[in-house]
Amino acid sequence: MNRERFIRDRRADWGRFEQLLGTLQSLPERQWRAVQVAELARLYRSICYDLSLVQSREWGSRLEDYLNDLVASGHNCLYRTPPTSLAAALEFIAIGFPRLLRQRWRAFALATALFLVPFLVGTAVGVMRPDLAVLVAGEEELQQATDSYSRELYTATDERYTGERSFMFGFYVNNNTGIAFQAFSLGALAGIGTCYVLLSNGISIGLVQGAMLSKGGATAVNFTSFVITHGSLELTAIVISGAAGFVLAQSLLLPGERTRMESLRHHGRESLQLALGAGVMLFGAALLEGYFSPLPIAPAIKYVAGGLAWLLVGLWLGLAGRERVVVADSAVGAES
């Protein structure tokens, strides 16, 4: 076969392939018709053959480039990963996420320690030396916080109430989830950034909490009843995002029996899933913090709700998605 005849014979197929590819790529996948896909696959295979023929006979780099582009876009169109569905995402939150977290309990324990210890120390220090809270929060903000927890709460019919709640909700989503995603991403730099985020947040949250508690009386009650409910999701999620960061760091520092590059790829997705789960938790926390926590209701109700929330979060993360498996299968299950 000479080159000219080859081009003459095959051109029609190439044109058809380009046209079909254009049509399919402009449509969402569920509107693709079986006939079209079958034809595309057939044409793709024959063009693969054309490309290798041109490559082996060295029939010119332009022709090779052209066929190379056709194969590349065909490959891109045919070999894709199935799209993520909403149902799968919900199932992940309900089952996959707690399962994944328990699997990565070492990273979670490390993150918990790095957050909880400075948090508790900070609280103790804050109670004894409330003036130190200025170091982390700034005088003005601290005064503002003191005022808002000591004042009369809004009533539900207060006009300002709805606006301010929504504003705070937006702020919480942006700020808290941003911090969590940062804690995760900075894990890619050997986890140093993650440590920093966990420690600094632990210290500042602890100190401010201590300062508020030291005021005693209504301020302390208002404060604790305010934070207890959404704290269940919020603090846990910050720690989980830290754990996700440590999984990244671990893949970089301790690749185990994989090569370092393989290790990055292997752990990357799972750690991201942890971080995204934490993001969802923080969204829930922001909803609670924006609309439930400041409700003008008796603190006792909030304590009950808060206790329930901690219990539910604990049960969900601790127990959801456990499987009763035969011992022989458990090894396989752990692998996948």
Partner: protein, 276 residues
């Protein structure tokens, strides 16, 4: 495939083998192209957020102070989404392209050449936080320089690469032989044909990606040119007053000029003939 290893080292192409057993190539995008795409995306983000804020605040103003506050909350969520999910959503849903990448002719792919999914897109964009440290994507630039596929951290952890899809002008030897006169049959008393492989070799000599001086190209062209002259039986006409061939005045590059004429005659003309 042994060739592909050395290819990695000297230029930015990667070779991917499909399940059909065919090798095909991608050209990896460099930092400059990616910076360009990033700049476009940043502008789009800033513009969209400005419009969002203005619209929402105007809308909120109807509801008084509470309305403005509520809408500011919604707009803050807009800021959050654009900060963390702009790249992920576009790359995940538009087959690896943000508007900026599309404008710059770039696409994100998994390193095996397949399209990325939403989760992968999210991951590689989250890690921008680490890549951007300490300022101006220094970390990302360093890892790009250290990896053959020019991957920043986000790409390494999520197994992606950014490829350039800028197409070279189609058609054989396009642009090269624009003002070149083809050889006439009467000029070549012997054979009037050139094998395909030789034509491909000539094309490669003029490949714009190969940076070489004109003088060096002339040197390389000479043996091939001489062999072709004897095959075709072509000889240079005497330089006379009013010579119709302009290129004979450029005595310095007569071999490259001759090869271009050969290319014009046997590759370009033949191809357009074949396509009719």
């Amino acid at each position: 495939m042994s060739q592909s290893v050395s290819r990695h080292l000297i230029d930015t192409r990667v070779v991917i083998e499909t399940p059909e057993g065919v090798d095909f190539r991608f050209r990896i995008a460099g930092p400059g192209q990616r910076l360009w795409a990033w700049s476009i995306d940043s502008l789009i983000k800033a513009g969209a957020l400005a419009i969002l804020w203005i619209l929402l605040l105007m809308l909120g103003a109807i509801g008084g102070e509470a309305g403005i506050q509520a809408m500011a909350g919604v707009a803050t969520i807009g800021v959050f989404v654009s900060n963390w999910f702009y790249g992920s959503l576009f790359e995940g849903l538009m087959n690896g392209q943000t508007p900026g990448k599309r404008a710059a002719g770039l696409r994100v792919l998994r390193t095996n050449g397949t399209p990325i999914d939403l989760l992968t897109a999210t991951g590689r964009n989250f890690l921008r936080v680490a890549d951007a440290l300490p300022l101006g994507y220094t970390v990302g630039l360093i890892t790009m320089l250290l990896t053959p596929k020019l991957q920043r951290l986000g790409d390494l952890f999520f197994d992606t690469m950014v490829v350039s899809e800028q197409r070279s002008p189609t058609g054989r030897a396009a642009g090269l032989t624009k003002n070149i006169e083809p050889l006439a049959r009467s000029e070549c008393p012997r054979k009037f044909s050139v094998p395909e492989r030789t034509l491909a070799t000539i094309e490669r000599l003029f490949d714009p990606e190969r940076i070489m001086s004109e003088g060096r190209r002339e040197e390389i062209a000479r043996p091939l040119s001489e062999a072709l002259r004897s095959r075709l039986g072509w000889s240079e006409p005497w330089k006379t007053e009013g010579n119709q061939y302009e290129f004979f005045q450029q005595q310095g590059y007569r071999h490259t000029q001759f090869l271009l004429r050969v290319l014009k005659t046997f590759a370009v003309e033949a191809e357009t003939g074949g396509q009719r």
